[in-house]
Amino acid sequence: MTNPISRLRAIFALASAAALLAGCSTTADEASRDEHVKYAWVVLGDGGKPIARVATDYATCPNINVDDGETRMQLRAAAGTAAQRTTASASADSKPSSFPLNTCEATLPASAKLARVGTRFLPLPKAEPQRVLVLADTGCRLKKADNAFKSCSDGEMWPLAQIAATAAAMKPDLVLHIGDYHYRENACPADIAGCKDSPWGYGWDTWEADLFKPAAPLLAAAPWIVVRGNHEECARAGQGWFRLLDTGPYSAARSCDDPVNDGTANYTTPYAVPLGSDTQVIVFDSARTGKAALPVTDPQFIAYQKDFKTVATLAAKARTTSLFVNHHPILGYAPVAGSAPAGGNAALLSVAAQVNPSAYYPPGIALALHGHVHDFQAINFSSNHPATFVSGNGGDNLDAALPDPFPANLPPAPGVTLDRITHSVTFGFMVMDRSGTGWTFKAYTKAGKLMATCTQSLNRIACDKVGFLAG
């Protein structure tokens, strides 16, 4: 049976076709014409607030039609090029970040049934999402310091477009991206055809090449919950992060344009995005975390301490399963060739252990989801700690595998007892499917081959396979 939204879309499509046949635009508003609106997407902010965004080359923001009403979108970030700031690269390998498109936005009512900009329909959140697509670490690495210049046009080497197409075909209700969208930091050397003419730096062109173009099917398929990775800290792609993805208000202080503001702009107060009436995702910004444990007097310790307390408040919501989501694994592993795997991020652990001694997470956190390590991990603990997923195999170079069999008595953090771990290092993504009162987590290869299925029960998961999974 055709649902009402599909019927509305069909009617609109017929009307659009008729208008085109008549040689007319579908809208009299020049700003709303499709040729100006280059990309349109929806991110979910605090409380699940849907925010429609567009990138447009027109001076005025377009109108957005929501159900029966039309309003003009608000300018979020005007096109422009901020003065060169310090970056993670040498000054000779940096340039000012140019954003020639305006970013416009409109907060949508949670009850919205249909939203459209020009002829482009926007994906809207469902009251009870059934399927969430999870991915992370998706860009194409061009980094001079690493001498790493990936062949971005080679789908075998950088499969984000394939992943996005495969995942979009699974018709997710939401997409959860756990950080590291942007990797094209430095210019492709003239002698390398594989990345020839790729944009570089931190401007719009790199964001388009690394995310908006290859992930277009997924951006059209569902609203996104966006989590910030270390590649989006202020000295890297932070400027684009705030213009395009961050769900808070845009301001000079929160733009990463001026390094003087990095001390605050590299942090975001955690917020919750509901997944229906019984589950919520708590988004935590760890973009700037380091690798070493933090002294309690360190400003970063203090910032994360405050954030973990906010997480506790959010996770205290009654009758709600809370999924903690940040980029850097906390109770996960990082493979180390020729040695035992490293545990979770030491800086975050040092704060988590102080705020929630021995538990690391506050009560109410059922599961944790991360990226950063370029593999898939599904970890269950026999101690009372939230099961953990890592889904960082979305396109950048893969890491080494975790050992198989996994070493006994190797906790990701003191006081944690590993029960079982399932892991893989092939390109792919994860899907969360609602299953009764909980969720089922499925790991897929880039081509859509199911590798493992894990079912959730409170803060535990049970996977149908254990140990290393070949791709």
Partner: protein, 410 residues
Amino acid sequence: MPVKLLMAGVALLLAVSASASDVVARIGITAQRAAMPDVAGPFNPAASRAALGRQAFFDARLSEPAGTSCASCHDPGRAFSGNHGSRLGVPLGSRPDRAGVRNTPSALYAAYIPPLFFYQDDDAPAPTPFGGLFADGRADDLPGLLRHPLLDPNEMHNRSLDAVAAKLRSAAYAEGLKREFGPKTLDTTIDAIAALGKVMESFLQSREMAPFSSRYDAWVQGKAALNAQELRGLKLFKNPDKGNCASCHKFNETSSNPARSMFTDYGFDAIGVPRNRAIPSTRNAKYFDTGLCATASANKWPDSGQWCGYFRTPSLRNVAVRERWMHNGVFTTLRDAVAFYATRSIEPERWYRKGELFDDLPRRYRGNVNTATLPYNRRKGMQPALSDAEIDAIVAFLRTLTDTPWAGPR
């Protein structure tokens, strides 16, 4: 690249000014660099110096007793690798009853090897070492390298550098050295050895020693074709789910600069090759060549033992021409070398005596062996990442890396 933690190493990191150079810290006495070095070359050595270096390279008077030159082991007939007539997997020395302990690496492309350094990508948990001459990275330059084979009793067996300098003074190319470096250049040992190092460096930088003339190079330039099996092998070599060879043996087939296709990242890895019991030294059951950890100790790296078993990833250019494979020369065919990666832990009985994994390392260091990187992360009972046909394809691709002078039927 293999990633290795520097246990307890933080205290020894001595920060230095990043503005003065790209050195951001020191681990022991080894520099940690802010960036990987740019691609080396092309070199343009003075022809006169390269010619002198070539003469020295082939000078059989430089051993004790005379008769063994650099070229005796770095055999021009085998792409400057070889084992001086030995069938042990390691070369014979200037005294025929003595043999070395490592397979002779090719001297081709040696000029492209950077000095030893550490680098840490921001996503990596710890800095890792790269570069340095020899499989254990212990020398940073040619003058530093030369003393080892010249003085090693198992190699050229000179009593001292003074003895080598004396031979240089009476060499056919002595006048040439004086012309290049001054009439007194051979007067002192230190100057004479330095001059030898410089001309040898020029020779290694010469086109003869870095020809980039393989079918692979021609294919990259659009001047030759690879057949279907070779192309399949290339894909398998790159595929992170299959050979994953390119994770260490880096190359870029889209680059017109052949130096981006050195088929190594100059990093170190512990792959746990089987013990070569033909090497005379191994008659002593307690003898082990533990590779990088000796360099780590000499360079005052913290916990040097964690690097035992690590050897620098060699270039695969001309790999098909080698007489033996792996640092200890344990394999007699290239196919075995490739198959080893795919089945090391799945079929240990095939590779190790009594199936005892990593038997060329002391037990206490066997945990250093990389069991994480594909394809050698598999355990017994699992399917190997590569089938026999896929191994054959990778071998076929590797044969395309042979430079023209050695590309004929063998």
